[in-house]
Symmetry: C2
Subunit: 366 residues, 2 copies
């Protein structure tokens, strides 16, 4: 079967690889040549509607006719065209999920959970990433609306979701996940970001820390703002000041986070403990702390659990969110709404859980 093997890096850009050519199938026929129900009907010598009945398992076809039709279907390789079906029936049995980044480990379980619920409703899930870009979020969500998904789950990246209002009014069920929509009333499923951050900081305070910093995501992102609020609440409740330089908000790019951490730890007014605002930030901070080995250890509580947190030394104490739970609850809400379009919008908040593992229990310096 092998015909040739050669280097062909040029073909696919930077990626080095080996190409092995194999004997070809006959070239595929031009697109659009797929057999239709009409073709099947012709070959089986029956009417169009009879084929439709067989394909959809509807009653009212004799065994013999059914057999003849099935034979024609197999012979021609017929497969029903769902685009046409959708056009006639109105429902697509498809829902869309717009999230930030498929490669972020937080979204894997979330997406997976949504898919399971969708599957239980015989519905296909389309998911796409906005790559943290409000513009792409909008493009993607509207593209899904054009395909007439029955429903839409959105993890907002943008600051304004009024663009979805006409779509929602036109009957596309929409649920926001992880962050609320801005500018419209809609179903929303959130984590208890404020409470979670507050309990994380309280935990550090209980272990003797007084100088605690917070490194978080962009302030325009709801979760980042809420977690900051939780941090401030906990500090205030303990009567502790938040000094200038103890809060750093910005992108989760490793360079930015690294700089923030180094300034907080090495500046004139250093902190002895840190709360990190999500798993991307935590991972970078863990790396910074590991590089400071000879220094006195710094206490850390991370928002979001992550795989292997328990195997690092010290193991990382986290405020765990239930990502799968967010997805599951949001998806269920979506399907509820598909059945009863008159539900008033609701906000659901899932609790977080402090997972104590060691890094938050380190005593402060001195």
């Amino acid at each position: 079967m092998l015909v040739a093997a050669r280097r062909a890096s040029a073909l696919y850009g930077q990626d080095q690889h080996t190409v092995t050519l194999t004997e070809g199938r006959p070239p595929a026929p031009r697109y659009g040549s797929r057999p239709t129900m009409k073709d099947v009907a012709g070959r089986a010598g029956v009417g169009l509607k009879t084929v439709s009945r067989v394909v959809n398992g509807e009653p009212g076809v004799t065994l013999e006719t059914r057999r003849r039709v099935q034979e024609a279907i197999d012979a021609l390789g017929f497969r029903r065209n769902d685009s046409a079906r959708v056009l006639r029936k109105g429902r697509t049995a498809t829902v869309g999920l717009v999230l930030e980044d498929l490669a972020d480990p937080f979204y894997g379980p979330l997406s997976r959970a949504v898919e399971e619920v969708a599957r239980a409703h015989d519905t296909l899930l389309i998911n796409g990433s906005s790559a943290h870009d409000p513009c792409r979020e909008r493009e993607l969500a509207l593209a899904l609306c054009s395909r007439r998904v029955d429903g839409l789950l959105v993890v907002p990246a943008g600051p304004d979701h009024r663009y979805l209002e006409p779509e929602m009014n036109a009957g596309i069920a929409t649920v926001f996940v992880d962050r609320p929509a801005r500018g419209i009333a809609a179903d929303t499923v959130l984590s208890d970001n404020h409470g979670g951050a507050r309990s994380g900081v309280a935990h550090l305070i209980a272990h003797g820390h007084r100088r605690i910093g917070y490194i978080g995501d962009l302030p325009r992102i709801h979760t980042a703002a809420e977690r900051l609020r939780g941090y401030r609440t906990a500090m205030e409740e303990a009567g502790l000041p938040v000094r200038p330089g103890w809060v750093s908000l910005g992108s989760t790019a490793p360079e930015r986070v690294r700089r923030a951490a180094e300034e907080m730890l090495g500046g004139p007014d250093p902190v002895t403990a840190l709360l990190t605002g999500n798993n991307r930030v935590t991972v970078t901070v863990v790396r910074v702390l590991a590089e400071r080995e000879p220094h006195r250890p710094v206490a850390l509580v991370g928002f979001d659990d992550f795989e292997l947190a328990d195997l690092l030394r010290p193991a990382v104490t986290v405020v765990a969110q239930d990502a799968a739970g967010l997805g599951r609850v949001a998806a269920r809400r979506l399907f509820d709404r598909l059945e009863r379009t008159d539900l008033p919008p609701a906000v659901v908040e899932l609790p977080t859980r402090l997972v104590v593992r060691g890094s938050g229990e380190l005593p402060p310096a001195g």
Copy 2:
């Protein structure tokens, strides 16, 4: 805006949460009430085709007419129905990606890379998980064919892909990723599993190990078999025997892997080093090794890189696959094939890279 807040665990099963009801929008109108081009045409006082021209930015419409149409579109909240469009045009500008598990960190970057390529071709990506189940793989792939995706990327879970032959002949471009298809000739993009495993084991041998075990995925999975072959090749090249009990293949469920590792390390013929067959296995084995702390350390090389591998102690030496590269190359091949349907099927193999971090360099006992 807040109307009520209460516990409502019953509503959404096990998940604990708080529901906050908010003032409702007017109920969404029944489905199917969306305005069509006909409605827009009526309101703007122009013909149907003129609306189509405006919506698609086709030339041959005066500025004034265009303005009137646009006004009607905005007023009615019209959005083109892509199902109907697809029916007429034949192409869906959609490709499907069938993988094993969206929550597996290996697939995040892969899926992300595919999405980027698709986006560059103005194409929507639908991805779904087979959950390692051949049956679901088939269901999902055929469901995507029914929706008439233009192309399909498949990470095979099943043992036989002849079911896709009619679809491929009917013009659905198909590329297999990470594992070859069985039973049909098709484009395929793989990692160099044999070479990677071989170099990983050779690395352990170079550091003095003679008793090396392999814990891998189910033997019916191509990558698992190839990596096993690489392991055997390396052992053979070094003139080392592979003793009974040194190879364990099976599911990647933590319990199974844990048992395998404990038997290999604690049995009558213990190994001093391990090659683990993928990131799921590696993570579990790292956990087992960590629990054996007082014991003499065991050397480890893992197939697949994973986040934080460098921060564990010892840091984990891995055979890194380029997951994003697999996705990128496969997606490019898919779009090539969409343009030139007469390409002969090719197999592309991407190199792996040994990333030395410490765990593979531990000396053997004695």
